[in-house]
Amino acid sequence: MPSPEFTEANYVDGKRRKGASSTFRPIVFFLVPLLSVLLDIFLPRFVESARTLEFPLLITIYFSLMKRQPIAGIAIGATIGLMQDSLSQQPLGMFGIVKTLVGYFAASVSLRFDVNNPALRFMLCCFFFVFHQFFYWVMVRALLGQVPNINTMDEFVRAILNSAIALPLFLVLDKLREDEG
């Protein structure tokens, strides 16, 4: 595969793609997070190993990276997190706070990197998954007074697995971007 030729047009296009915020239809902003939460609920009923997947987190990371606006990331993270909380047995705000932080930092990171790069997406997904799990563990321990049993190696494996799932998922979601193509 020949390497892309460096031209002025390609450079400008790259700069534009790197600095611009992706746009989505409102229905996409509504349905995709909802679908991710529903998958998070229903999929484990049929496939036990699906509990490993964290679709709401992946959707949060994707929209935050693509929007490249911290406030948008905060809103996306808080909304998806609260939705996930509302369907869980734990108090409202546990996932909300963690995903708010993930959305904020993901949006902030996206301002400095080319988030269309798959390798970078993979690494960011790994990092934010670990970040998410760590802060969730802190929240559970600090606010609920519980000590969740977490295996560090398992969490790293889960992080890699979710990141691997995230790559094709993000490519599918890229098709829903209005600025794509």
């Binding site: 809103a75 808080a78 609260l82 706070i97 708010t100 902030s108 609920l144 007074g145």
Partner: protein, 388 residues
């Protein structure tokens, strides 16, 4: 503020959203004591602030309040000091009253037990001069006090009346250098003359060096001076040593041991039996001063002993006179007519026992008149040399 929020808009929004969700969490979550976290956090957040505010209030308003309280306390302190002073005075007064009541009670007991006819008096003044050994009492001639009457306390002899005025009398204390009275010791029955020295001791004079007087022996009035009735305590011996002519015996006046406030003037003296030294060994000075209780008249009539005012005890001179009388009757010699002199060394027969049954010691009663110089009394021999 707007500039800050505009500059850190993203971070501000993040904080606001996080805080909102934390509040949402806190409303739902309860701790292990079933208290919602929102309450725990609120109290935890408020408590330090309240503590700081309370500290500020305590250090400012509290200080002012303490200052005003201090002013109030100072006024209260002044009032309390006045109260304390008043109570101290009152306490002192009541103590004095209590002590007086105790003294009067003791004196009343003494008067009840003592056969002498006495009159209570209070010392109201001392004589003029630094070395004065006279005092004034509040009873005078209108109360029956006459010159020469003995003055005593339950503890012992105080002195004698040297001048009687209508409302008061002058009393010469036994410590006066010109005072003297006849005394006899309770243990060895040694007779002597107690003389004032001008200090707080009496010198018992005219006791031969061969005679034994021990320290601690108590001297009583002997009645030889025809002034003080026999049996009144004078004081214990403090010093007893050999002298040039006579023994040097110093006695501490028992009446002055506890100070003088109330005294008794002996209006009519009655000789009493001198207590046995063995019986006086283990009793205090006050008990030593108390004479034996009056004999029950009914019991006394059954035993034939004299009772009441007639219960009188003779002096050695009385016994000597009775012995001479008995010897005269035994040998058929009458005194005062010249002629045969009886054998005074002959033993006295059973007939010579005194006619009147008296105390077990075989003494006869003798009444001492109030005034020593009153002629025609049954007083014994004259006072020893030096008796004042």
């Amino acid at each position: 503020m707007d500039g800050f929020l505009g500059r850190y808009r993203n971070l501000s929004v993040l904080v606001i959203v996080i805080m909102a969700q934390l509040v949402l969490l806190a409303v739902q979550v309860k701790n292990n004591q079933d208290v919602r976290l929102i309450r725990v956090w609120a109290v935890t957040a408020i408590t330090p602030l309240a503590r700081v505010l309370e500290g500020i209030r305590a250090n400012t308003f509290g200080l002012a309040g303490e200052y005003w309280k201090l002013i109030e306390i100072r006024s209260q302190n002044g009032a309390l000091k006045v109260d304390v002073d008043r109570l101290k005075l009152e306490n002192q007064y009541l103590k004095e009253e209590l002590a007086t009541a105790k003294r009067i009670e003791a004196m009343a007991g003494f008067v009840q037990r003592n056969p002498n006819k006495t009159l209570g008096a209070r010392i109201i003044g001392a004589g003029a001069g630094m070395n004065s050994k006279v005092v004034f009492i509040d009873r005078g001639s209108t109360a029956g006090v006459q010159k020469g009457m003995p003055v005593i306390t339950p503890d012992g002899v105080v002195g004698k009346v040297t001048a009687s005025y209508p409302t008061g009398s002058q009393v010469m204390l036994i410590t006066d250098p010109t005072f003297a009275c006849g005394v006899v010791s309770d243990k060895t029955r040694v007779h002597g003359t107690a003389r004032g020295q001008g200090n707080n001791q009496l010198l018992v004079d005219y006791i031969q060096n061969e005679q034994s007087v021990e320290v601690g022996e108590v001297f009583f009035t002997s009645g030889d001076d025809r002034l003080f009735p026999k049996g009144l305590p004078v004081g214990p011996v403090r010093v007893s040593r050999q002298g040039k002519l006579f023994k040097e015996i110093f006695v501490a006046p028992a009446a002055f041991e506890r100070g003088l406030e109330e005294v008794l003037v002996v209006l009519e003296g009655v000789h009493q039996q001198i207590p046995d030294a063995s019986q006086m060994a283990n009793v205090g000075p006050e008990a030593k001063a108390l004479a034996p209780p009056p004999v029950d008249p009914k019991a006394a009539s059954a035993t034939g002993l004299p009772t009441g005012p007639s219960q009188k005890f003779p002096t050695d001179a009385d016994r000597l006179m009775d012995r001479y009388k008995a010897l005269g009757e035994q040998q058929g010699v009458s005194y005062g007519n010249g002629g045969k002199v009886p054998n005074f060394n002959a033993p006295v027969g059973p007939r010579a026992i005194p006619k009147t049954p008296v105390a077990p010691v075989g003494e006869q009663p003798v009444t001492v008149p109030p005034a020593a110089a009153t002629p025609g009394t049954t007083a014994p021999t004259g006072p020893p040399p030096g008796v004042g």
